[in-house]
């Protein structure tokens, strides 16, 4: 059993049957053993051979009866009964009863045995199942262990990598530090050198100047015809201390002038700003105060407007008054107050504007949805969000539906589905689908046209080839017949061959192409039903039909023409086969068509 459990779970059923048979074998053998034990226990008084052959013989009937009686009593079956102890004769009724009981007991035991066997079988199979499961799990464990170890290895490697990278980083950092130090050192060195050089340069310059002065450069001179007056017409002044102070004064004066000018401009700017501020204030107050009656005048927005407190407006007016007074003053306090009031008003204005905004949006929603209660903005936005989500979901749904539809259309399309679609989809979608279909059809039509062109070209090629072969055959025949001495026969055969050739040439071509066309047309019939169900009157399919119809009669006609001479159909067929082969060899595209076309012909 253990060996069997090793096998894969796929073969379990087969094994089970085997197991059962084998177990039965073993069981039966054990029973036999048991029987033999029984039998071997018996011959206390008999020879074993006799016992084996027969339990009871003429001589030992009473003993047998006795023995059976004993046995029966020991088994607890109607002990008193089969034989009277004194006479040792068989009392038939109890004996039969005992036998019946024995039989019953035997049957019962048999049944229980069977049940046990079945149990055993079941348990063994479950055991096997468990064992296989166990084995599998063990395998899994093994695998996982291996995986774990692999991962460990990987981790270790990564750790190593990290370590190396860190060390790299560290070294790089050190390098950077070093380089920075070097740069700093260089910079200091450079600046030091520069300074040194500059000092030297200065020294040289000094020396040069000194030398030049010492040399009393004669050339250094000004040669003026006559001196000029100053440009401002004044006379030249001597340098005095007074001049210095006056220069200082002038300088400060000019600075002061500049500052004054700047202050002036700032003052102007400030006053301008103040004016603007005042204007703004007035406008603000104007906007805010007459708003109330205005709002009341318009009946639609009445209810929310009432929320605006009139008390606040009055307060604003007050503040406005006081700030207006303040504007004329220009001390710190006034400024603070001014800014405060402005801020206050600004805040109010902002609040108001926000309110107005929300009102406007509300009004819009109200317009849209008739007599709907005023909804707070958050709720509104939430609603919007929800609706957007819904729209999105709807779109998705539509999309999936479209996809499914497309699939369905591609796979199979009949009138039922068309009707279903008619029921299911809105006109719009159908239109769109039609559009798409038409596009698709157009493409397909183009493709077909191309294919047709191609096949035509192939036909032409075949024609040419045929004529060539014809020529060749004729030539060969000529050659051959010229060689033979039978001149009168030659003529006949020549005509015969010619007729055969004439047969061969055209139908063979048709053979290779018409089947393809026929199959094609059948497929198109399928398609065309789909088209007609969705969009009637597609030009491409009709065109295709037309072309197909055009081709089919042609081929038939040619066929008929070719088959008019039934001189040697067998040869002709042979030739077909040949020609087919040749065409196949030439053109792999036609090969597939040919194959398809084989069956109808």
């Amino acid at each position: 059993m253990g060996d069997w459990s090793m096998t894969s779970p796929l073969g379990v059923s087969m094994e089970n049957s085997e197991i059962s048979s084998i177990s039965r074998v073993t069981l039966s053998s054990s029973r036999q053993n048991h029987d033999s034990l029984y039998s071997s226990s018996l011959p206390l008084s008999k020879s074993s051979h006799n016992v084996l052959s027969a339990f009871c013989i003429e001589e030992n009937v009473p003993q047998c009866i006795l023995y059976i009686n004993q046995e029966l009593s020991s088994l607890g079956l109607a002990s008193m009964c089969i034989a009277t102890p004194v006479e040792a004769t068989l009392n038939s009724v109890p004996a039969l009863n005992a036998m019946y009981e024995l039989l019953q007991a035997q049957r019962r035991s048999q049944r229980s045995l069977e049940a046990l066997e079945q149990d055993l079988l079941r348990t063994s199979s479950t055991l096997e199942h468990l064992q296989t499961g166990n084995y599998r799990l063990k395998d899994q464990l093994e695998l996982l262990k291996r995986e774990k170890s692999g991962l460990h290895e990987k981790e270790r490697q990564l750790q190593l990598k990290i370590e190396t990278l860190q060390s790299c980083l560290k070294s790089e950092k050190e390098e950077i530090q070093k380089l920075q130090n070097i740069i700093a050192g260089r910079a200091s060195q450079y600046s030091h050198d520069a300074k040194r050089k500059e000092r030297e340069c200065v020294k040289l310059k000094e020396r040069l100047g000194q030398l030049l002065i010492d040399k009393r450069d004669k050339k250094l001179a000004i040669d003026v015809l006559n001196y000029l007056g100053r440009s401002d017409g004044k006379r030249i002044q001597w340098k005095t201390g007074k001049a210095g102070t006056s220069h200082e004064g002038d300088m400060y004066k000019s600075l002061l002038n500049d500052y004054e000018a700047r202050q002036q401009s700032l003052m102007v700017e400030n006053s301008e700003l103040k004016k603007v501020l005042q204007q703004m204030k007035r406008d603000m107050m104007y906007i805010l105060s007459p708003h109330k009656p205005c709002a009341k005048a318009s009946p639609g927005d009445d209810s929310p407007e009432r929320g605006f407190p009139p008390a606040g407006l009055e307060g604003q007016d007050e503040v406005g008054e006081c700030s207006r007074e303040n504007l004329d003053q220009s001390c710190e306090k006034a400024r603070e107050q001014l800014t405060y009031s402005i801020r206050l008003q600004w805040r109010r204005l902002k609040n108001h504007m926000e309110k107005l905004d929300s009102q406007v949006s509300l009004a819009q929603t109200q317009q849209q949805s008739g007599s709907e209660e005023a909804v707070p903005r958050e709720v509104h936005e939430e609603e919007m969000q929800r609706m957007r989500l819904e729209v999105q979901q709807g779109k998705d749904f539509i999309h999936t539906q479209q996809q499914l539809l497309q699939k369905q259309l591609n796979s199979s399309f009949d009138d039922e589905t068309a009707a279903l679609l008619n029921d299911c989809y809105t006109l719009e979608e159908k239109e769109r689908l039609k559009e798409e279909w038409r596009l698709f059809e157009e493409q397909k039509g183009n493709f077909e046209r191309e294919r047709k062109n191609f096949t035509e070209a192939a036909i032409r090629l075949g024609h040419e080839k045929k004529t060539f072969e014809e020529d060749r055959a004729a030539w060969l025949k000529n050659q051959f017949l010229n060689l033979t001495p039978f001149v009168d026969r030659k003529k006949y055969s020549l005509s015969d061959s010619q007729s055969a050739l004439s047969i061969r040439s055209e139908p063979e071509l048709q053979q290779s192409y018409t089947p393809a066309k026929l199959t094609k047309s059948s497929t198109y019939n399928e398609f065309s039903t789909t088209y007609s169900s969705i969009s009637d009157g597609l030009p491409s399919t009709t065109e295709l039909y037309r072309t197909l119809h055009l081709i089919q009669p042609e081929t038939r006609h040619s066929k008929r023409g070719s088959w008019q001479e039934p001189s040697s159909p067998i040869r002709a067929e042979n030739l077909f086969g040949k020609s087919k082969c040749s065409v196949r060899c030439r053109d792999p595209c036609i090969l597939s068509l040919d194959k398809d076309g084989d069956s109808p012909i």
């Binding site: 000092r199 200065v202 250094l220 001196y227 401002d232 220069h247 002038d250 000019s254 600075l255």
Partner: protein
């Protein structure tokens, strides 16, 4: 638009006098003074050598001609043609010469920046100013001509000296908090001095006339810093162009950044919310569609080399202060015009060639630019124009300068020049030309 005939010049030395009446040009060692209107030669002066530098005095009475190689400066008078003045700096050499604002003193910077020599034409007196610093812009006069700021370097530290130009009295002398001062510039009202550090460090310091540090500004660190700087005519804004291709605008009250103008390579006119000027004339092309964008050709600079060609190198406010024109060096063919009222991009002027020079009309918001081609480009808020300079030899405009009344323009080529007269629509402004 009319053009004059073409005249010769050398070293691109052509200057219209500050009063707008004369045009002085140098041809080799000759100085020619013409009447601006008639272009008749009024005076002809001959110098001792080829003229390297030429400058009008502020009162338009004298012309200074410098010959640096010889260390010579010659001054000519318009009123007295036979008056002459020659200043010889001797063996010490000469690298720069300029008028003082009063037109009676000449400041010569000697070689190696040993000193600045101040020569007076009134008294023949000579004064020396020692330790001038050799830098981008080491000397600046205030607009009214009363003060001069001079950058100095002593003991490896930067100083600024403020002189009163009237008598060269040292008014203030203070150390600046710069590593390596690169330049200084007075505000147009003469009350604030902007001092900026060299490109290694982004730092602008603002000093009051009396030497107080008003504020300092630094946009970033560790990267190449300031490349150019310009005051708005009202002294209200200070525009700072830097190597990061941005212009930052500081205000004059808090000296903090108001805004920064980026120079992106791709412009979305619609996204930026600006009405970019559509230019149909000539090679000026500007995208004006609602959603389309313009990609500006960018030259990738070699950042490893010194002075990389990147960043805003030139800035100019229009005369009314409403517009700011900028040029980013790695987009050399583009001039950007910014609206200072909206603080936004107004127009992008893309040329086919690199822009050589641009200058605002001193009277109107009108920008003239040239690209080294025989064309002159003009932009104004109303639109743009490009004009071919009529000439046989292919006159290529390398530089230009406006007449002070904004009615004419001197176009300077390699060795020639010509005048371009604008169509004056309002004659009323013509009468009042120079009102300074």
């Amino acid at each position: 638009m009319n053009f004059s005939e073409i005249f010769k010049q050398s070293n691109q030395l052509c200057r219209i006098s500050p009063d707008g009446r004369y045009l002085a040009t140098c041809v080799q060692y000759r100085l020619v003074v013409r009447d601006v209107n008639s272009l008749q030669i009024l005076h002809l002066y001959t110098c001792l050598d080829q003229i390297v530098h030429m400058e009008w005095s502020s009162d338009s009475l004298f012309i200074l001609c410098a010959m640096y190689k010889r260390g010579l400066v010659q001054v000519w008078s318009l009123e007295q043609p036979d008056w002459h003045c020659k200043i010889d700096e001797g063996s010490i050499g000469l690298v720069s010469s300029r008028w003082s604002p009063d037109g009676r003193h000449i400041l010569n910077t000697t070689e190696f920046h040993l000193r600045v020599t101040v020569w007076s034409l009134c008294t023949k007196a000579v004064s020396y100013i020692k330790y001038p610093k050799a830098c981008q812009k080491g000397i600046d006069f205030s607009r009214d001509g009363s003060y001069m700021a001079l950058a100095e370097r002593r003991d490896c530290k930067d100083y600024v000296s403020v002189f009163v130009c009237e008598d060269w009295h040292l008014l203030r002398h203070f150390e600046t908090e710069t590593q390596d001062l690169a330049g200084l510039e007075w505000s147009p009202n003469g009350c604030v001095l902007a001092v900026w550090d060299s490109c290694l460090e982004y730092k602008v310091l603002l000093y009051s006339l009396d030497g107080r540090l008003l504020s300092s500004f630094s946009a970033y660190e560790w990267s190449l810093g300031i490349k150019s700087l310009a005051w708005s005519p009202s002294s209200q804004f200070l525009a700072i162009g830097s190597f990061d291709e941005k212009v930052r605008i500081l205000n004059h009250i808090t000296w903090k950044k108001i805004t920064e103008f980026e120079h992106p390579a791709t412009i979305y006119p619609a996204l930026a919310g600006l009405g970019l000027m559509c230019v149909s004339t000539g090679p000026l092309t500007v995208g004006g569609g609602p959603m389309d964008h313009t990609t500006i050709p960018v030259v990738k600079p070699d950042l490893d080399r010194a002075n990389p060609k990147v960043g805003v190198s030139s800035l100019a406010f229009s005369a009314d202060g409403r517009y700011l024109a900028t040029k980013n060096d790695n987009m050399a063919s583009v001039v950007w015009v910014w609206n200072m009222q909206k603080m936004s991009l107004e127009a992008v002027l893309e040329q086919t060639a690199a822009v050589r020079c641009f200058q605002w009309d001193p009277r109107r918001p009108r920008l003239a630019l040239c690209t080294g081609t025989p064309r002159l480009y003009l932009w104004s808020p109303a639109g743009s124009v490009s004009v071919q300079v009529p000439s046989e030899g292919g006159f290529q405009v390398h530089a230009l300068s406006w007449h002070s009344n904004g009615d004419s323009l001197v176009l300077i080529g390699k060795e020639h020049l010509c005048l371009c007269y604008m169509d004056t629509e309002d004659k009323s402004t013509d009468s009042n030309i120079w009102t300074k």
